[in-house]
Structure formats: structure tokens, C-alpha cells
Point group: C2
Chain length 257, copies 2
């Protein structure tokens, strides 16, 4: 990998007057001397509540777009965040108290008009958290925070509606060929529960036998040995195996029923 500490090979005088070492160059370099866009990280944090796919929204307490609903997010803390993922984790923790859910970078949106403060760039992530963590929502910043069913979200600040659409789309398409939704369930779950989550995200029914074959054959979950009692036949409980829902199927799941 690149080594920054060392000087570049002394180039005998090229373009200009005298050669400059990288060290010299950096000594006089001031990032703030150059115009730069604003940079933020925004997140679509998904969970399933009451059989609906929901996303966490905050009502903006500050200008710009004050009073509008928006995806949680904010500026990178250049001192504390070691990388973009850390910024995302920090924001997630601030809003939900949850620490290490599934987190995936989706898209970076940047243009001159999406934020009235000027040229701005935002890196959008989506996160999946289990619905047994829902009550953990904290409320630091006197902002209003809420879960909204994704189907009921009609407008958001900035271009957040578009970002949300992209995140939702990414989630939906990955559900066709991965087992991502396990991250939306608590530590143990039944196959029917898992199937229901798939159906909620896909927006259509999934054929039971095909679904179970697929999940079992993929060897991504294992029986806990426990059963979930109910009003009828009890169901086996499962937990994610080795690499959770990060299995890729070579064929897509699609229709059914």
C-alpha cells in the first residue's frame, strides 16, 4: 500500500523552478484554502413493526429545512470519526441506542442544489435492526424521532425521499438473492416469521416449501433446539449461523402463491 511517510523520489526539476518534497508541500497545504462541498452521512434505518417495513425519521430542529422530516444523519466529526462507517455508526447509536446492526453503504448523492447551503455531498447508508430493539430510541437533541411505515412517507427534507427510495430499492433487490432479512429479526425466530419478513419487504407472497428449502439448503441458520409455543402446533426456533444473512443465492426468489 502507499507509503505517505516517505518522500517521493527526488524528481530532477521538472515543470517549475525547484523541486518540492511532499513534506514541504504538505507543510503549506491548507485544505480550507480550497472550496469544498459540505459532506454529510444520512441513514435509512429499517425495522419491521406491526407487519410493516418502517424507517426511522427525525424532525429537523435546526435550519435548513427546519420542521421537516428527514433521514437521521449529519456532518462527519473530523476529530472523532475515523471513517465514514464510524460516522454512520455514531448517528445510528445516537438515534436508536443500537450499536452493531447490519450496515451497508448505498449511494452518494452530490450536487449544487440539494442543500440550500451550497454544493453538498451525502453518503447514504441503510441499516437493519431487529424489532425487539425498538423501544431503545433515545432523544438527545430535542428532535422528534419516530418510526414511519415506508409506504406512508411522502415527502422529506432535501433529497432524502430519493435517498430513501434508493435504500429501499437496494434492500428489496438484495432480498431476492440474499438472506439479509435475518438482521430484522431478534436472535431467534421461526421459519414462518422469517418468511413473513421476506414477504413484507418483497411486497408479495412467497411459496412456503420453496422458501424453506432455499433457506435450509443454504445452511445459514441452525435450530436452537427450542420451540415457539403458540395456539397451534409449536414451531422450531432458529438462529443465524456463521455469516448471518450474507449468503448469496445463485438464483433469485421471486413469486409464488
Amino acid at each position: 500500500m502507499p507509503v505517505y511517510g516517505k518522500l517521493p523520489q527526488p524528481h530532477k526539476n521538472q515543470e517549475n523552478s525547484m523541486p518540492q518534497t511532499e513534506k514541504d508541500f504538505l507543510k503549506h497545504y491548507r485544505a480550507s484554502d480550497y472550496p469544498a462541498p459540505l459532506v454529510t452521512v444520512d441513514m435509512a434505518i429499517f425495522t419491521v413493526l406491526d407487519d410493516q417495513l418502517c424507517v426511522l425519521l427525525v424532525k429537523r430542529a435546526q435550519h435548513p429545512a427546519k420542521g421537516q422530516w428527514a433521514l437521521p444523519g449529519g456532518f462527519i466529526n473530523l476529530e472523532e470519526d475515523k471513517d465514514l462507517q464510524a460516522t454512520a455508526h455514531r448517528k445510528l447509536k445516537e438515534k436508536t441506542g443500537v450499536d452493531a446492526p447490519y450496515l451497508e453503504q448505498v449511494i452518494t448523492s452530490g450536487n449544487a442544489s440539494r442543500d440550500p447551503r451550497g454544493w453538498s455531498v451525502t453518503i447514504a447508508y441503510f441499516a437493519l435492526i431487529a424489532n425487539d430493539n425498538n423501544d431503545l430510541i433515545a432523544d438527545h437533541s430535542s428532535e422528534e424521532v419516530t418510526w414511519k411505515p415506508i409506504s406512508s412517507v411522502e415527502s422529506l427534507a432535501f433529497d432524502h425521499l430519493e435517498l430513501l427510495a434508493q435504500c429501499h430499492q437496494r434492500l428489496r433487490s438484495k432480498v431476492h438473492y440474499t438472506a439479509l432479512p435475518v438482521h430484522l429479526l431478534p436472535a431467534t425466530f421461526t421459519l414462518v416469521e422469517l418468511q413473513t419478513i421476506f414477504e413484507i419487504i418483497l411486497g408479495n407472497k412467497v411459496e412456503k416449501k420453496a422458501f424453506r428449502r432455499r433457506i435450509i439448503d443454504a445452511d445459514i441458520i441452525e435450530e436452537t433446539g427450542e420451540m415457539r409455543a403458540g395456539v397451534t402446533r409449536p414451531a422450531k426456533l432458529y438462529r443465524p449461523k456463521n455469516n448471518g444473512g450474507n449468503h448469496y443465492f445463485s438464483r433469485a426468489i421471486e413469486g409464488g402463491r
Copy 2:
């Protein structure tokens, strides 16, 4: 370590005193008052030359990392680029003269250490261009520019090797379930040529019949009516249809001899 021009200006107590309109807020807002990361756009521009997948590299003429090979890229021009994609297109045009190839955003990398100038963010794109455009490489900035077989790239400036790996990976995985490689071929091509490109990217052979069935059934290319003469049986020429290589298959292509 990173040097920032100014410390963050403490907001003068707004909430408490009097309400402020967004207009007022914006009037006094100066983006440059806040520390912000550097933001660049970098690209992996792919083509196939001499039966090898190649990527365009430039030798850096300026500090930092002067003299090292890097992916082409650079800062956003806040005045001229209307969005990130425009920056990418501009960079692509500068280096290759090509204007509208296939372009896809891959990943955004940002952390405190990837650039010695400080906290920096880069948005990485990959582009596919046809190998009949190869000669169009311009050389504006007295930088050295070259096509390197991807297998021979062992080190690059900054974290560009990692970015390249991500772009390469994205390309390879999409080749399993899309017809992206048509963008790497000239306007007309034979099925065998197309298959060869697939094989080069995948790094393994593809079964002829399965490949042809897949492409033909997908209805993404059409016969031109012309034939390509050769030393043996002439081959039908095809051109991309409606939406080029942007078709998604529901099953992956994989192995075969």
C-alpha cells in the same frame, strides 16, 4: 496529521434567543467556516486490450503521492460540475476523449488517513469503454497516462488499489447476472467476441451453447444482417438493442467449459 484552517465556529445561541427564518440562517451561513473533508471523484476506467481487462492509470504529476500511479480523478469543480456524475464524466473526457460510456458509482471511501492532506472522501466510479476508442487518449496535464492490465497492478497511490479492487469486484459480480460487457465492445460484434469478453472478466470459460441461449433469449442484442468474415466460417454481427447491457437475468451464469 491533518491541518484544518479554522476551528468550528460556535453557533451563537440560536434556539434560546429569537426565532430565525431559513433565509436569515442562510444569509449568515458560510460553508467554509466549518471543517470539512476533502472531496474527490476517482474512476476505474476499464477496457479490454489484447485479451486482457485493462484499467486506465495516470502517474501523478503533483504532490501528494507525486510520481505514483493512481486512478484518474480529482476535485469537484463547484462552479462547473452540476453533480458528482458530471465530475466523473468530465474526468473521463479529459483522460480518454470518450463522452458517454457506461458509468456506475461503486463506493465512497472516506477516512482520516487515506490522504496525507487530511480527512478525505472519494467517490469511486467505474466506466466501461469500447476498445476501438483506445487511441483517443489525450494528454492534457503533462501526466503520463496508460492502460495497465488489471492483473499487473500491484500498488497505487492513496487507497486506490482498494478502490480498484472494489470496482473490479463490482464489475465481475455484475457480469454473472447482467450483460454489462456489451459496453466493452464496439458498435457491432459477434457472439463469440462477446463471449470472450465475458470469459476475460470472469476469469473462466463459459459454455458456448448456454451463453448464446442466455443472450439471445434475453432479447438484448439484434442481428445487423452483416457478417464478420474470417479465416473460417463467417459469424453473424450483432448490435445492442434497446437497453444495451442493462438486462438483469434471474439466474447467474457461472462455470463451464
